[in-house]
């Protein structure tokens, strides 16, 4: 194939057709339909061979080309007395190609303008608050406006839910080791406990983060000898008892 071009180069079937006509330097008013149809079909097959998804629109135009090709093979009948008769089977196609090229050209003009306009820069609005004399905002809202405002927000409701979830989690995760130490001490004191198991403490916590905080807090408390930790056997229950230094640790009651 002489024209290995990427499919995504073409915006649509007309784009491809125009490209083929132009590269083969055909006169648009005298399109060699057989040749162009062959090229068009080759191209589509090449795309399919490369596993490129070919939009159905490309096939629609292929069918049109084949139809015109077959009409071209028939002798043109001009019934006597009828001026002009059926005309060239290519006429409609030419019209459509011209129409398409017209807008392709317009798109190119717009593209140039777009580029030229990049040299023109705006400035942002100034901070208008110094000029806004006590905004005379007066309440004149109706339910439509109100609903519209909320609707916009709803539009992204899923995201909102996510944020809300994350937001809540962030709040909960703010439990600190300091807090947890205090709460464990309080637990011992309030319930006048002598012992508590590690499992019991951890089960109070619903998030992994808080369980980790609990564990680290216990390590810290053990280091400070605020608690005593015993484990009878490997992987066995860890039992926590109150340590010698516990009395000095100030326990804040809420």
């Amino acid at each position: 194939m002489s024209y290995k071009v990427k499919i995504d180069l073409f915006e649509g079937p007309f784009d491809l057709l125009v490209y083929l006509i132009e590269t083969s330097e055909m006169n648009i008013y005298d399109i060699q339909v057989a040749a162009i149809t062959r090229q068009y079909m080759d191209y589509i097959q090449e795309m399919q061979r490369l596993d490129v998804e070919v939009a159905t629109e490309f096939m629609v135009l292929a069918a049109v080309l084949i139809e015109i090709k077959s009409k071209m093979l028939l002798p043109r009948i001009k019934p006597e007395g009828v001026a002009g008769g059926e005309g060239d089977p290519r006429d409609e196609l030419v019209e459509r190609i011209l129409e398409y090229k017209r807008f392709k050209r317009a798109a190119a003009l717009l593209e140039d303008r777009q580029e030229a306009m990049e040299a023109v820069l705006e400035k942002p609005k100034e901070d208008l608050s110094p000029y806004t004399k006590e905004p005379d905002e007066y309440l004149n809202l109706d339910i439509r406006q109100f609903a519209a405002a909320f609707h916009l927000f709803l539009h992204k409701r899923k995201k909102v839910e996510e944020i809300r979830k994350n937001y809540a989690r962030v709040e909960r995760q703010r439990m600190t080791i300091e807090d947890r130490i205090q709460s464990i001490l309080r637990l011992f004191r309030q319930k006048a406990l002598k012992k508590i198991t590690f499992r019991q403490l951890v089960e109070e916590e619903d998030t992994r983060f808080n369980r980790v905080v609990t564990f680290v807090s216990l390590l810290e408390m053990a280091r400070q000898r605020v608690i005593k930790v015993k484990q009878q056997e490997t992987f066995g229950e860890i039992v926590i008892g109150i340590g010698e230094e516990a009395g000095e640790k100030k326990v804040h009651d809420q």
Partner: protein, 193 residues
């Protein structure tokens, strides 16, 4: 009665703080003058800025005026900083936009007939960028939505109004083509494929 000089000076200040295109009507109301009068003042200012070759210019977008930089100075500005710019439009977006601009108000079906391919997503993207907007309903069967361009479209491409769109009807000349023999209408096409 405020003097012309005062009003013109005020217009400069207003455009400066506002940043965005300032509507002639809004400006006229502030001074209790006619829209025509306000428009003329803006136009005079614009002309003065151009004539003096200033680094700041005034551009008109559909009866609104806005201060912008002179395009000649973009190189110097880029030496100083990297301006934030709108993203350029893709080829397909430009094609669809061209059809909307020249054929407006136009239905999606008409756009698709010209390009031979669906354009829902492109059209959606153009509406999101506020370059295209709905412009009523066609009276055709099913009353399809009509589309048209926005003021943001004019701004993006630097047109004062739609009349400034370059002529594309003499496309044959542009393409170096022989004009077809008479009788070929290039205007209205209704061919269903």
């Amino acid at each position: 009665m405020t003097s012309k000089k005062t009003i013109k000076s005020a217009f400069e200040s207003l455009m400066f703080v506002w940043g965005e295109p300032l509507d002639v009507k809004t400006a006229a109301e502030l001074f209790n003058i006619s829209n025509k009068e306000a428009y003329d003042y803006f136009a005079e200012l614009k002309e003065e800025y151009d004539r003096e070759g200033r680094g700041i210019r005034i551009r008109e977008i559909n009866k609104s005026f806005q201060l912008v930089t002179s395009s000649e100075n973009v190189e110097y500005i880029e030496r100083l900083c990297t301006p934030v710019r709108e993203k350029r439009l893709s080829q397909q977006a430009l094609e669809v936009l061209a059809i909307v601009a020249y054929r407006q108000p136009v239905t999606k079906g008409e756009i698709e007939a010209i390009r031979g391919i669906r354009c829902d997503r492109v059209l959606e993207g153009l509406m999101k960028r506020d370059l295209v907007q709905e412009a009523g309903r066609s009276s055709a069967i099913g009353r399809p939505i009509l589309y048209g361009t926005t003021d943001a479209f004019l701004k993006h491409f630097g047109f004062q109004n739609l009349k400034e769109l370059p002529d594309i009807e003499d496309i044959a000349g542009v393409m170096n083509l022989e004009e077809p023999e008479e009788g070929v209408e290039t205007g209205q096409l209704t061919i269903e494929f």
